[in-house]
Symmetry: none
Subunit: 249 residues, 2 copies
């Protein structure tokens, strides 16, 4: 096989699979590992791929995962926040969890909205405080330094005493069979209580988290009223949720 041919083959392969291994390539093309290495080196210098120890990665791969944006998927969360904000009407009593998506929601609330927001999330409360006309109620209890939210029996007790019109949950994983799940026991208790205390449950998540699973169960799909992602509501990935009776926005 000619050198040019070989390099074209490698490039094709790396673009197709986002990665190649030197060891597999040399086995496949039947040349020495040195030759593959030299090819990869050359292609890397010409900027066609990214050389790493043991093989090479496509440029697409690198772009996909080396996003240096501060908040992950910031733009997508802004879209979600916009959609969510439109659900809040004047006079409503709204319960929210924490998380970056909820913070975006807080920023996206229309300036003239008059409503009451309840949360145990310190960063969320900080954002709500900036708003000129909404009332803010903080749920008290022990502060979890990881999740920056108040957790514990007191907090759950307070939430139980509430009847909210709307509950916004920033969720970490959702799955048609298991519903929403999370990885922090205390936070899950909070969210469960929130779901119980609300007339309408709205889940916010970037589409990446759809059909993923975490260890601890929050609520099943039939307890969710609305699902908001950055995607169009008729995206095929959302179909199972629409079929399950969830309003997808």
């Amino acid at each position: 096989m000619l050198k040019k041919e070989r390099q074209a083959y490698i490039l094709h392969k790396v673009n197709l699979h986002n990665r190649v291994l030197s060891s597999l390539l040399c086995d496949e093309i039947q040349v020495s590992e040195d030759t593959i290495r030299r090819d990869l080196h050359e292609l890397a210098q010409r900027g066609k791929l990214i050389k790493v120890h043991g093989g090479a990665l496509s440029h697409a791969f690198n772009e996909k995962y080396n996003t240096s944006s501060h908040i992950y998927s910031h733009d997508q969360k802004k879209i979600i926040a916009q959609k969510a904000a439109s659900l809040v009407k004047n006079g409503m009593f709204v319960l929210t969890s924490g998380g970056t998506t909820i913070i975006e929601l807080a920023r996206a609330l229309p300036h003239d909205l008059r409503a009451t927001f309840v949360s145990g999330s310190i960063p969320a409360i900080l954002e709500y405080m900036q708003h000129p006309s909404i009332d803010v109620i903080m749920i008290g209890d022990r502060v979890s330094k990881n999740s920056k939210i108040t957790i514990g029996g007191e907090a759950i007790e307070k939430i139980r005493q509430i009847r909210a019109d709307l509950c916004f949950l920033g969720i970490n994983a959702i799955d048609i069979r298991h519903g929403t799940t999370d990885n922090d026991w205390d936070v899950v208790q909070l969210k469960k209580a929130m779901v119980e205390s609300s007339r309408k449950v709205v889940c916010l998540t970037i589409s990446e988290k759809i059909n993923t699973l975490q260890p601890i169960h929050i609520c099943s799909v039939d307890q969710i009223d609305v699902l908001i992602t950055e995607l169009s509501p008729d995206d095929p990935i959302l179909k199972p949720y629409r079929d399950a009776g969830i309003e997808v926005i």
Copy 2:
């Protein structure tokens, strides 16, 4: 799996779910725990995530909140905070109000202190959260946007249920005849409850506020145990308070 792939996977996971556990990761990727640890360490050094015992946290979620907008008499408040911090011993249960002096106190706490801090002040809670080893308890209720503190019956009720070893009050005015006074009705109610619930009351103030008066009464001089200013304890302006039996630091 290539090293870079693995790290990208970890980063993706931590951004998606806010936190990862080393043990779960090594199980998932099928490498030794050491390798995961090394990856996390490396990613942490490159500032991509925050390494903690047992796993890692997403960076976006742990961003610092720069509450460091210009503070009036900053240097003096730092001195006060230093003196105040020295009063807190391991295992203590400490009740604090809000205010910039209290924020400085939070920053001045020794790194290895183990104690429980209770407050309704959102900026103060934010600072306490940064501390590695203190427990933080947030008093919940309606949030006052002016004073950035939770106010109302619920908050007062919760404070009443507490028996604190120490209470730090950032005060706005003190006077030998009227004691400490303030100008916000709701905040005063809170502070009164704090004084009642604490074995020892410590007032923090810059000397400028000494011998000044505000409309609403918090507590009289004989309810104050310690007074901390930026001045030397034997400064003549403080003599009346020493004579009244207050420990002046």
